[in-house]
């Protein structure tokens, strides 16, 4: 297979879903069954992406396949020389893995939706939207260029908007869509500013070219601070898309969308795009930027976990758990555990998609009931769903033998190593606390939903196991949450192909003095920008990781177990009454239940002031600006009160640039025109006198 062929196939994979979207959206009205076309396309896509992955790993495992073209050519720009904007694709190992993950989950969600969305009046459009989402997501993955990433970045935002607000008749749904888009935009502005800095400094947006220039010691605006700022600004994009604090508020609301959408977009793929983006620019992050990322990730993950503890909506719990897990990944990148972040991204994609689809299955069975307090005992009615759900829950809780155990352990080890190397111990501490809480709330969820007695007998009676097309994706995804797919040794992720040969930490390009010393490898870098870099962690970091591995593993297993135990104690065995506990810790409980009051805070500090400001400005515009420009229309109005006649004049359409002036002058002049000829002559006499006194050279 030639490289070009692989690239072409990849590009085909990219555009096929767009074709699906276009066909379905344009002709969907005429052909009600057209959604099958989209499902077919996504299936082909999955097969193609598997094919690409196989070829890539078999033939080009150490090479990145790159293709670029000039999108906009500015020619020979004065004072600057040739300038152009390129677009391009880069297919490396991470790309093909992501291709596979995205297409797989997308396909499963398509299939799941066939049943879940049955009977919806905009069935075709739903699939079209899934198509454009898949297209955009694949676009992010394949881009070799920050601008192109940004393009697709926004497009996933659009598809997310469309899908969250799919049931737009519900105000909450359209609100959520709007919120998602706008909150994401805040992050995107940061991302965009980052791009601007890079383009201004390097006149290119192709990642490898940028890295090469940084490596050559060429910093943005010749300043280390700007390099840090660039990293943080681009990270801001990820903060939005991956729902990191403080921009995470949209994700829970996004659960207004159909549940399969939540599984695909708001759990497995799109939200991971932020992590993916940070991983793409990982090599240009300075120590300061990394610290910021680590702190944000750790804090997000902690905050989301605390909120998840008390939520009652099944999807909300999962949403916060997603935020929390994304925080993990971000933290992982921040502490330098690059490969584990991506690893967790993949494992999390599978088990979280499974969890969401599972919850979808439950919700479907319960006739769109989402409140866990209305559920219970479903494991008898829905054994397959239960089984799949349980496996995934174990995975997310980090129980050994699951994929989650492997990736989470690596992240925790990385953070521990980071703590030991830099002294920032808070980050690993938060990480471990989150591990405890994750296990707790996930099992709280499982117990409340599947165990115990049904709370709502009526709904319970009508509940039933989901049909095959819904169950099948659950099973596939839960199976993918088992360790065996990733490593032969359930306790050592490093032994797995994912980490040993597929994904390797690239070498930082940041000048040594700006980077953590443990990020600098003592082994020389291979100077081929398109090749996959060897593992470049310094020996120091590798060693620290190594040391941290077992303590982290034991600690996390212990904490996970503790969490599970606590959950069972409280909800299964009812040894501790959660209500009493919440009453006792009432303010903490409320703080968590109300999501740290962040929405309220944002409303009070940003949203409402903006609205008020806009209203004030509109008023200002109507009254003052218009007024001033119109020659003080207010004064004119005052005038008009004196004379009704004047008013009719104004109403008559005579407010004008000099209404006041002309009114005043006009009236003054008109007063002179009395109609009495003798008055005129008096005026002439006075005028002559005035002229004499003005002009004559006395």
């Amino acid at each position: 297979m030639s490289e070009l062929f692989i690239i072409n196939i990849s590009i085909a994979i990219l555009f096929l879903p767009l074709l699906g979207f276009a066909v379905v959206i344009l002709f969907g009205k005429r052909f009600p069954k057209l959604y099958l076309f989209e499902v077919g396309i996504i299936t082909i896509n999955l097969l193609l992406s598997i094919y690409v992955m196989v070829v890539k790993f078999s033939s080009y495992i150490n090479d990145a396949l790159v293709y670029g073209f000039t999108w906009i050519d500015f020619g020979n720009v004065p004072l600057l020389g040739p300038l152009n904007i390129e677009l391009g694709v880069k297919i490396d190992n991470v790309t093909v893995i992501m291709f596979f993950v995205v297409n797989l989950i997308s396909m499963l969600v398509h299939v799941f939706s066939l049943e879940y969305m049955r009977g919806d009046k905009r069935f075709n459009r739903y699939f079209a939207y899934l198509g454009i989402f898949t297209f955009s997501m694949l676009g992010i993955v394949i881009s070799h260029n920050l601008l192109m990433i940004y393009i697709f970045w926004e497009l996933v935002g659009l598809s997310s908007y469309l899908l969250i607000g799919f049931w737009y008749e519900k105000k909450s749904a359209s609100d959520a869509g709007k919120k998602a888009f706008i909150v994401n935009r805040i992050g995107d502005i940061g991302f965009f500013l980052g791009i601007l800095i890079l383009f201004t400094s390097y006149h290119t947006l192709t990642l490898d070219s940028i890295f090469a220039q940084i490596a050559a010691g060429n910093l943005p605006f010749d300043s280390a601070a700007w390099l840090t700022a660039t990293g943080i600004l681009i990270f801001l994009g990820a903060v939005g898309k991956s729902a990191q604090f403080p921009l995470h508020v949209w994700l829970p609301d996004a659960m207004e969308g159909p549940t399969p959408v939540s599984a695909l977009i708001h759990a497995a793929t799109m939200v991971a795009a932020g992590v993916y983006l940070v991983s793409r620019i990982f090599v240009m992050l300075t120590a300061d930027a990394m610290l910021v990322i680590a702190v944000v990730g750790a804090f997000t993950s902690f905050m989301a976990a605390t909120i998840a503890l008390t939520q009652n909506d099944i999807k909300k719990v999962l949403a916060y758990s997603t935020v929390s897990q994304l925080g993990y990944m971000v933290m992982s990148l921040g502490v330098g555990a690059y490969a584990f972040a991506l690893f967790h991204l993949v494992t999390h994609a599978f088990f979280k998609a499974c969890l969401f689809l599972g919850s979808g299955s439950v919700i479907h069975a319960m006739h769109h009931e989402q409140d866990m307090r209305q559920m219970g005992g479903l494991r008898k009615k829905m054994p397959i769903t239960y089984a799949a759900f349980l496996i995934s829950t174990l995975a997310i809780s980090g129980v050994p033998l699951t994929s989650g155990f492997l990736s989470k352990d690596g992240i925790l080890a990385g953070s521990l190593a980071f703590g030991s190397l830099t002294g920032h111990w808070l980050i690993p501490i938060l990480g471990f606390v989150v591990a405890l809480m994750t296990a707790f709330y996930m099992f709280r969820l499982v117990i409340m939903t599947f165990h115990g007695e049904p709370k709502n007998q009526h709904k319970f009676d009508h509940a039933h196991e989901s049909p095959f097309v819904m169950a099948m994706p659950l099973v596939i995804l839960s199976v993918l949450s088992i360790f065996i797919w990733y490593t032969p040794l359930p306790h050592s992720p490093d032994a797995g192909w994912f980490l040993s040969s597929w994904v390797k930490t690239p070498h930082t390009v940041v000048p040594a003095e700006l980077s953590y010393d443990f990020m600098i490898s003592e082994t020389p870098v291979v100077e081929d920008q398109y090749s996959e870099h060897a593992v470049v962690h310094s020996e120091k970091y590798t060693e620290a990781m190594h040391h941290a591995h077992y303590p982290a593993m034991f600690l996390s297993v212990f904490l996970g177990g503790l969490g599970i135990l606590l959950a069972f104690t409280m909800y299964q065995w009812k040894k501790i009454d959660p209500d009493k506990l919440s009453n006792k810790l009432s303010w903490l409980y409320k703080f968590s239940l109300n999501k740290w009051y962040l929405d309220e805070l944002y409303d009070a500090t940003f949203v409402n002031p903006t609205i008020y400001l806009s209203k004030a400005l509109a008023w200002f515009d109507n009254t003052i600006v218009d007024g001033i420009v119109n020659g003080a229309a207010t004064v004119t109005k005052f005038f008009s009160a004196i004379s009704g006649w004047f008013d009719t004049y104004i109403v008559d359409g005579f407010v004008n640039a000099t209404a006041f002036f002309s009114g005043f002058v006009g009236i003054a002049f008109r007063k002179l025109q009395t109609g009495k000829v003798q008055t005129y002559i008096v005026l002439v006499v006075f005028s002559v006198l005035a002229l004499i006194f003005i002009i004559s050279p006395f």
Partner: protein, 503 residues
């Protein structure tokens, strides 16, 4: 003054003589064939046409006419030159138009019996104006102004059936008499100082001798009051709106164009011949430092245009509005004089050429509408443009041109004016004038608004224009548009006419 000189002088005033003869012909015709009054307009038009032809043939003739016996210099009562000829052409053309105008006006038709007197008086006006354009002796200036004034006093009140005509007449004569009295008093002072009323001698006197500047200024301001009355600039304009509104519309139109033209001609000549010591190579007039003409003119013109425009804003009577508009235009044109350069005077010529067609056009359409409507009130114009499209478009065109928007002739007039101002670096003044233009848009556009933006009411007439009237309007409207796009002929003509005989 020997007889040869007299013959030569008479040869120089052929157009005036033809006008005088026509005047007599009208009087006689009216007396003898009093049943054929219908022919009077034709006689008048023929006389005017002949005069116009003669005038155009004589365009390049120059010379002094009626020199005094003891003149040490070669000067006279009249200075016949192309500058005067230009204004004579303006006057004659507008007179011709007014003759047709008068033939159509209902107001004049109603006074059919006195048509002879009407045309006699019109010719009295014309004669007065013709002499004004070339007079260089203050007493002749005074007398020709009086000739013009006396005729117009009567004409302003010509149709006696309407009360407002009488009132206009009375106000006009009282105001005019006082103004001319002031002017005369000023002339007497000048005479006392210079020992002569001749402008050329005045100029020599200014150049030569010591002079009491204060007295001189008072005299000039008093004289200016007379000119100001004639060209109706603030603060000597007060009669204008009342008289324009009260007078028959044909006379209003005539006053606003021809009489104003003559006033400008004489004022320009007064300053040009009496005060300019030399003209520099850039065409700027270097004045003797005896009187700050520029300050006076700038003050007056700014005051005039501001007053005219701002007062016009509030007018509901279209005639009255056009009166104020003509005041404002006088202000603009006075700016051209204030520049005190050939450029400026030239700009006035160009401006007048265009002002002539657009102003008479506007008045004519207003008259046609008033004939049908019986009113010049703007509130009766609701939707008129929609019901009578031709008149609406024509009036719209004239008003737009008066505003000075391209591509109409009015714009070119303004353009040349501003060119002169900028050339003289009078930027602030130009800005004020331009802002005034913006203000003027309101009231012109207000007519358009009424005509087009308001819906027609039941009272809105559908006015059919006769073929003749249509042609007449087209004669005025087409140049308004064409000269806006191709103005070279007019400008060339004006350029040819900017040479002054004498100093």
């Amino acid at each position: 003054m020997d007889l040869n000189g007299l013959y030569e002088s008479i040869a120089l005033i052929k157009p005036e003589i033809v006008i005088s003869l026509t005047l007599l012909a009208i009087v006689l015709f009216d007396l003898i064939l009093s049943n054929s009054k219908k022919l009077l307009p034709f006689i008048a038009a023929t006389g005017l046409a002949v005069t116009l032809v003669i005038q155009i043939i004589e365009l390049s003739t120059t010379g002094y006419a009626f020199s005094p016996q003891n003149a040490t210099l070669f000067y006279g009562m009249l200075s016949v030159d192309s500058f005067g000829a230009f204004f004579k052409v303006i006057i004659l053309v507008s007179s011709l138009l007014i003759v047709y105008f008068s033939a159509v006006t209902d107001e004049i038709k109603q006074s059919f019996d006195r048509l002879g007197e009407y045309y006699t008086l019109i010719f009295g006006m014309i004669l007065g104006m013709m002499f004004m354009t070339s007079a260089i002796d203050l007493i002749l200036i005074y007398l020709s102004i009086e000739l013009l004034s006396l005729s117009s006093y009567v004409l302003a009140g010509f149709t006696k059936i309407r009360q407002r005509n009488n009132e206009a007449s009375l106000k006009y004569i009282i105001y005019g008499a006082v103004s001319s009295g002031m002017m005369l008093f000023g002339i007497s002072l000048i005479y006392g100082m210079a020992g002569s009323t001749n402008l050329v001698e005045l100029n020599n006197f200014i150049q030569s001798g010591s002079i009491n500047l204060v007295t001189f200024s008072i005299a000039l301001i008093l004289i200016f009051a007379g000119f100001g009355f004639k060209i109706s600039v603030a603060p000597f304009h007060f009669w204008t709106p009342d008289v324009y509104e009260g007078a028959p519309i044909s006379i209003t139109a005539f006053l606003s164009v021809a009489s104003k033209a003559a006033g400008f001609a004489v004022l320009i000549r007064f300053i040009r011949v009496g005060f300019v010591s030399y003209v520099d190579s850039d065409g700027f007039w270097r004045l003797s430092e005896v009187f700050d003409w520029q300050a006076l003119l700038v003050i007056i013109s700014i005051l005039t245009m501001t007053l005219g425009n701002f007062s016009a804003l509030w007018q509901d009577n279209l005639k009255r509005m056009l009166a104020y508009s003509s005041i404002a235009h006088a202000g603009y044109m006075l700016l051209g004089l204030a520049v005190l350069s050939n450029q400026g005077a030239f700009a006035i010529l160009v401006y007048f050429s265009f002002y002539l067609i657009m102003n008479i056009g506007a008045f004519f359409v207003v008259m046609l509408i008033a004939n049908k409507l019986g009113s010049e009130n703007i509130d009766d114009y609701n939707g008129l443009g929609l019901k009578s499209p031709f008149l609406g478009v024509a009036l719209g065109l004239f008003l737009v041109s008066l505003t000075g928007l391209p591509p109409t002739a009015g714009f070119i007039g303004k353009l040349y004016l501003f060119i002169a101002l900028v050339d003289a670096k009078m930027i602030i003044v130009a800005v004020i004038a331009l802002l005034n233009t913006v203000v003027s848009l309101y009231y012109y556009i207000r007519v358009l608004k009424k005509m087009y933006l308001s819906n027609p009411t039941e009272d809105t007439p559908e006015i059919k224009t006769s073929a003749m009237n249509t042609i007449f309007i087209l004669i005025l409207a087409v140049p308004t548009l064409v000269f806006g796009l191709y103005f070279a002929p007019v400008v060339d003509f004006a350029k040819m006419c900017i040479s002054f005989f004498g100093v």
